[in-house]
Amino acid sequence: MAAISRDEVANLARLARISMSDAELDHLAGEMDVILGAVARVQEVAGADVPPTSHPLAVSNVTRDDVVTPSLTPEQALSGAPASSEQRFKVPKILGEE
């Protein structure tokens, strides 16, 4: 049995906000199955007694003082925007609130 179904891949694409054609989904579902089969072996050695490492550095409390530094100008901030208006980033209509 496949480790991951086409529907699951479709749901992941939805979560990741990537439109996918049926052909793309079919292809990716097959690839994902192979890749997941290969990476699943991490579970073989990951015992409950092994602490996780999320970061190579063991430092903590790196902070900055609460000091204001210069911002970009609005022109700079908006310079890369695909569309802007009234000194704001312009986007197609947003559906619904969070």
Binding site: R14, T63, V67, V68, R88, F89, G96, E98
Partner: protein, 498 residues
């Protein structure tokens, strides 16, 4: 037949949960040095970090951490020796990185409590609201929906985004479930937010202006059938933006949910929006599938691990707790409960205290600020302290105490100061508002008053002391209100052989 609030509560017991978001008043943002001014021109307070430009990296604002620890300490929380930021992944146009840097399973403060005192039918009662966690995160940008018929998000043609607010430090304070509040649920919810706001204000960590969104409340509510012991499904009402709305939202949700349950429907676990006009809530956009936030430790930040020394330094800097301070002041000033509450509700406790600290009599300070000055402020829709300074009021009260001003004269002085005619002494001089303290001048007025009402004077001579009131009133009138009524009475009675 639909249930009203009282009948709903006969059948159901509400369970509350409150999530409060507080914008900290740091100078710079949570993860970058951009300014945090409210109301700045759009996109003038942004940089690669808070715009989420490729390649940018966050660095934590130290004061934001300290403010959060202070809040935790003030809420009797344990401060975690090790805490981390996590990414909460979801897409939304006002969120530049399409993840929110927040805290998940390793928040900085846990397990606190806040006592909320409310008036019940049996007198004042304290509800202990337990705090589950206090954690740090960042605010989102603001969107403006343009076009369409309503100007709201639905039906808009396009949206405009301003990221000035994106990255402003937020602290989220989450309660555990608050059980057994019964019909007082709305008051407990309101009282909790009010008490929390007082604490935050005393800590000076936030502007706590609900109307500007620097303090926002989400209300979770569920009902369980009385005696069943089974918790019901909860709804989450978002962004309730005034104390009154908190109370109304809870009331509204109790009635709405009770009616649903009573008609055999289920309460849906969903996000709802509070409608200021009606006091009702409406459902948010229903999502076909639940979001999966895919939290994981933020790899661009290192852990926050406050040591004991740091925490103790912060603990030492904690101000007196608002509730304790209130008790202390109430005792010191000998104020009845009702008056005390009035002062607190009017948010004038600090002002009155400052006035007293300048030497004013507490009773007078209270009655001036809550009375005349508040009345004018209300008329003009401004704050009392916008009209007149604490030191001016203290000075005026001092003159009253010394007998140099009567209450009536003082009102004119206050009026003059508010009209920007100058300092109290300048107003007194300009308007010649000195008390007539010259006895001979008063005696002249007394003689005049007696001459005008000989019969009344005779009554007083005959021992009818209350009849003197009319004569005193006449003398006050003759002196244009600038006489000290007590002195007039003294002189008058003596003159009439009493």
């Amino acid at each position: 037949m639909s249930l009203n609030y009282d009948s709903a509560l006969e059948i159901y017991e509400p369970t509350l949960g409150l999530e409060v978001h507080v914008e900290l008043n740091t100078n710079s943002k949570m993860f970058c040095g951009c300014a945090t001014e409210f109301g700045a021109q759009p996109n003038t307070q942004t940089c690669p970090v808070c715009l989420g430009l490729p390649g940018s990296l966050p660095v934590v604002n130290k004061r934001a951490i300290e403010s959060t620890i202070l809040i935790g300490l003030a809420l009797n929380c344990s401060i975690a020796p090790f805490s981390r930021f996590a990414r909460k992944n979801y897409f939304y146009p006002d969120m530049p990185k399409n993840f929110q840097t927040s805290q998940y399973d390793e928040p900085i403060c846990v397990n606190g409590s806040l006592d909320v005192e409310i008036e019940t039918d049996e007198g004042n009662k304290v509800f202990k609201v337990e705090i589950e966690r206090v954690h740090m995160e960042e605010d989102t940008g603001k969107s403006l929906h343009v076009g369409g018929s309503t100007g709201r998000i639905h039906g808009a043609d396009y949206s405009l985004l301003d990221y000035n607010r994106a990255g402003i430090p937020l602290v989220e304070i989450v309660t555990k479930i608050v059980p057994n509040t019964g019909k007082y649920a709305p008051l407990v919810a309101r009282g909790y937010v009010a008490a929390l706001r007082d604490i935050l204000r005393s800590l000076k960590v936030s502007d706590v202006k609900m109307e500007q969104g620097s303090l926002r409340c989400d209300v979770n509510l569920s009902l369980s059938k009385r005696g069943s012991g089974v918790l019901g499904t909860r709804s989450e009402t978002k962004n309730v933006n005034s104390l009154r709305s908190v109370e109304r939202a809870v009331t509204g949700e109790i009635v709405r949910q009770a009616n649903r349950l009573q008609s055999g429907e289920k309460v849906v676990q969903e996000t709802r929006h509070f409608l200021e006009e009606s006091g009702q809530t409406r459902p948010g956009r229903s999502k076909e599938q639940a979001e999966d936030y895919r939290y994981f430790p933020e790899p661009d930040l290192v852990p926050v691990a406050p040591d004991g020394k740091w925490i103790e330094e912060l603990r030492k800097s904690l101000p007196e707790k608002p509730a304790e301070r209130r008790k202390r002041l109430q005792q010191a000033w000998a104020v009845p409960d009702k008056e005390m509450r009035a002062m607190v509700n009017a948010e004038l406790l600090d002002t009155v205290e400052q006035t007293v600290l300048l030497g004013a009599d507490p009773t007078r300070a209270r009655s001036w600020w809550l009375g005349e000055i508040s009345r004018i402020a209300n008329e003009r829709s401004v704050l009392p302290t916008d009209l007149i300074t604490v030191s001016d009021v203290a000075q005026i009260i001092e003159l009253i105490t010394k007998g140099e001003l009567t209450d009536k004269l003082a009102r004119q002085v206050v009026e003059g100061v508010i009209a920007k005619e100058g300092t109290p002494s300048q107003v007194i001089a300009k308007r010649s508002l000195k008390v007539v303290s010259d006895d001979s001048q008063l005696m002249k007025a007394i003689a005049e008053a007696i001459a005008a009402a000989p019969e009344t004077a005779q009554k007083v001579r005959d021992g009818n002391i209350p009849a003197a009131g009319a004569l005193i009133g006449a003398v006050m009138k003759l002196t244009g209100g600038q006489a000290d009524a007590a002195r007039v009475r003294q002189l008058l009675l003596k003159h009439l052989g009493q």
